[in-house]
């Protein structure tokens, strides 16, 4: 009986959290005077209407999985990475630079090099915040947020200046974008006519690898121990500071790789807006996925759906696509609130006792 009540308690909290998130979204939708059910219907079903919609969800799922995996590693290890957006942009720049510098390499060599460059670029950017945290105790949330703004300026500077497509300066409008990548650096598309590319396989493969790394190796155990209870981990001889730095570097590498895959698979050149807020959405994806690869993959698909769905509502119902941010913010607040209730044995037992008093049974 007690077990049933406990399940009921958890279910009630999850339902309440979901209702709160949907409700906050509904308030904003009502404020702009659109039909709430209709908007949610369009967001959640319209992308499934044709092949284009479905492939576009998956196109957005790829960077969300990668960024989400990196953020899950960092959160599990006890360091909050808010800097995925900046790390992604540095990854984009590094991948583009390598691809443009070595256009004559064969594909089997160039493409892996380009992806590796992206990951290294992101790792480098993540290492700044990681080392600052490990060495000087700098609050990683603030440092990664600041590094995002710095990366955005660096990205803008390089695309407007040194890395701009020379053709843009001679004949074009001066749009800040790099030259098109050589074909040898392109990640192939899975279906002709759609933007979906093989990055999807890379993302899914890495999800499996992250699972083994974090849950099936000693190294992963150390990382999670450092994140779960730093004092105990230190007592057990784990070098917590190294774990924090390593986690941030790894998170940066994942974000940078996501950037490189976006460039080589979707846009095929560096241009403003490639990172498109994936770095922030990735935080929600990771939390919603329970900071576990098995949860992150479906969670990334769900938020990919929200992103493309919000684009469609903008066209169909003229609901601004910023609505996605509202929902993401509401989801974060609901998840973190629900988590404390779910993990609080006192509150749970109290509720279970009350239910037992009301409906009978359950006495230990």
């Amino acid at each position: 009986m007690n077990r049933t009540y406990r399940t009921l308690y958890s279910a009630a909290i999850i339902l309440a959290a979901a209702a709160a998130a949907v409700g906050i979204g509904a308030l904003v939708l009502m404020a702009i005077g659109v039909s709430v059910p209709e908007t949610y219907r369009v967001i959640l079903t319209e992308p499934f209407k044709d092949m284009y919609g479905i492939t576009e969800i998956l196109v957005r799922t790829v960077p969300l999985i990668l960024v989400g995996l990196g953020i899950a590693i960092s959160f599990r290890s006890g360091i909050l990475n808010i800097g995925a957006e900046g790390q992604m942009q540095i990854g984009i720049l590094a991948a583009t630079a390598v691809a443009l510098a070595l256009p004559n390499l064969p594909k089997w060599l160039l493409l892996p090099l380009v992806l590796l460059a992206g990951a290294l670029g992101g790792a480098l950017w993540g290492s700044i915040a990681g080392l600052l945290k490990a060495r000087l105790g700098v609050n990683e949330i603030l440092s990664t947020v600041m590094l995002n703004y710095i990366a955005a300026q660096l990205h803008g500077f390089l695309l407007r200046g040194p890395m701009i497509d020379p053709a843009e300066l001679q004949v074009g409008s001066g749009t800040p974008q790099s030259m098109r990548l050589p074909k040898a650096a392109w990640l192939d598309r899975i279906l002709t006519g759609y933007r979906l590319h093989w990055g999807l396989a890379i993302a899914l493969g890495l999800a499996v690898i992250v699972y083994f790394l974090m849950w099936r190796t000693t190294w992963g155990f150390r990382m999670r121990a450092a994140g779960a209870e730093a004092k105990a981990a230190r007592y057990a001889g784990i070098r917590v500071e190294s774990c924090l730095a390593a986690a941030m570097i790894l998170a940066g590498a994942f974000a940078g790789l996501a950037g490189a895959i976006e460039v080589t698979g979707v846009h095929r050149r560096a241009i403003e807006g490639v990172s498109a807020g994936y770095g922030f959405s990735g935080i929600v994806v990771a939390l919603f996925g329970g900071l576990h690869p098995a949860g992150i993959v479906p969670s990334a698909f769900f938020f990919g759906l929200l992103l493309i769905g919000a684009d469609m509502t903008q066209r169909a119902l003229s609901v601004p696509a910023n609505m996605v941010l509202v929902l993401q913010g509401a989801v974060i607040l609901s998840i973190v609130s629900a988590k404390t209730w779910l993990n609080d044995p006192y509150a749970r037992d109290k509720a279970v006792r009350k239910m037992a008093a009301l409906f009978g049974g359950g006495r230990k």
């Binding site: 005077g33 600041m146 703004y149 300026q153 803008g156 601004p320 993401q328 509401a330 607040l333």
Partner: protein, 316 residues
């Protein structure tokens, strides 16, 4: 051109720029003194900026137009109070981890402001905003007059909040309670202070000030609203609280330093120095990281229980 005149012009822009940072940072100081780390400041500022702007936009040319800024300021403060309450619900009552909840509040505020502005306003439109109000006599002082005494009333209010915040935090019973629940909530609880209520009050005050900071941006500084008007100032304000060691006077110093760093990019344009503009924009953000890196060695520590939820039922 006279170098002194250039310096005067930079400071005349930089000093009023500091008001938004100052208001937000003072509000955040109250939050952190009470033990709550509110990263949602950025989102509250975005809502404040939008709501401060909206009445001026809607009432443009109407009979009520002269009152529009005042209505906007009231709306911005009210929205700040409500968002502070929401943050209190999540972090004080539900005891959620504050850092990540703050990022949620930031997305919520930023997204809501963006959604509403796209719907009600559309593109970027200017508003009359609040005019400068030079103080007679004082504004005629050479060099200092144009810098310190030619601001908007909103600007003077911002600077006035420094002594007021100092007084409230260090000389009133409520200020003592705020410091107590941030330093040793269990002791405060034992002495009969309602920890949760005090933290809620601090969050509401901090939210209102962040809302006002946003309204300052749209009404007095930019005189328009754009999605990205806040541009990280909320996060810089949080960092400034560390930099300012949780004290209003040092926070004032930090705000001035950072806003002058921000107006540095204008100096580059004015003086025609050949320096990539993007690196000038980066400067304040780089400064924040450097400041945080060196702040560790400070003797003064922050509130002892900063960032830790208080659970009175938990055994210690």
């Amino acid at each position: 051109m006279n170098l002194l005149l250039v310096l005067q012009n930079i400071l005349a822009i930089g000093v009023p720029f500091s008001v938004a940072l100052l208001l937000a940072a003072l509000g955040e100081m109250f939050n952190q003194r009470a033990g709550v780390f509110n990263l949602g400041c950025e989102g509250i500022m975005a809502m404040g900026a939008f709501l401060g702007f909206l009445p001026s936009f809607l009432l443009k040319g109407g009979a009520l137009a002269p009152w529009a800024p005042a209505i906007g300021i009231a709306c911005a403060a009210l929205a700040g109070v409500l968002l502070g309450l929401l943050f209190g619900l999540v972090t004080v009552s539900f005891r959620a981890p504050q850092g990540i909840a703050g990022i949620g509040l930031q997305m919520l505020g930023w997204g809501t402001a963006g959604t509403l502005s796209r719907h009600f306003v559309g593109g970027v439109t200017g508003i009359p905003g609040i005019d400068a109000w030079p103080i007679p006599g004082l504004s005629k002082i050479p060099f200092l007059g144009p810098i310190l005494f030619s601001m908007t009333p909103f600007g003077y209010f911002g600077f006035l909040m420094v002594p007021i915040s100092w007084y409230v935090l260090f000389k009133t019973p409520w200020g003592l309670k705020v410091r107590a629940v941030g330093t040793h909530p269990r002791a405060a609880d034992t002495m009969g202070t309602n920890v949760a209520r005090t933290r809620y009050q601090a969050l509401m005050l901090g939210g209102a000030m962040a809302g006002l900071a946003g309204a300052y941006l749209s009404l007095a500084q930019a005189k328009m609203f754009a999605d990205d008007i806040v541009a990280g100032r909320g996060f810089i304000a949080v960092a400034l609280v560390y930099f300012g060691r949780w004290h209003p006077l040092y926070i004032l110093g930090g705000s001035l330093l950072f806003s002058i760093a921000q107006s540095f990019q204008l100096a580059i344009q004015v003086l025609g120095i050949d320096f990539p503009y993007e690196f000038a924009v980066m400067l304040p953000y780089v400064l924040v990281i450097l400041v945080l890196a060196f702040a560790k060695n400070s003797r003064l520590r922050g509130p002892a229980e900063l960032g830790k939820p208080y659970n009175r039922e938990k055994r210690v």
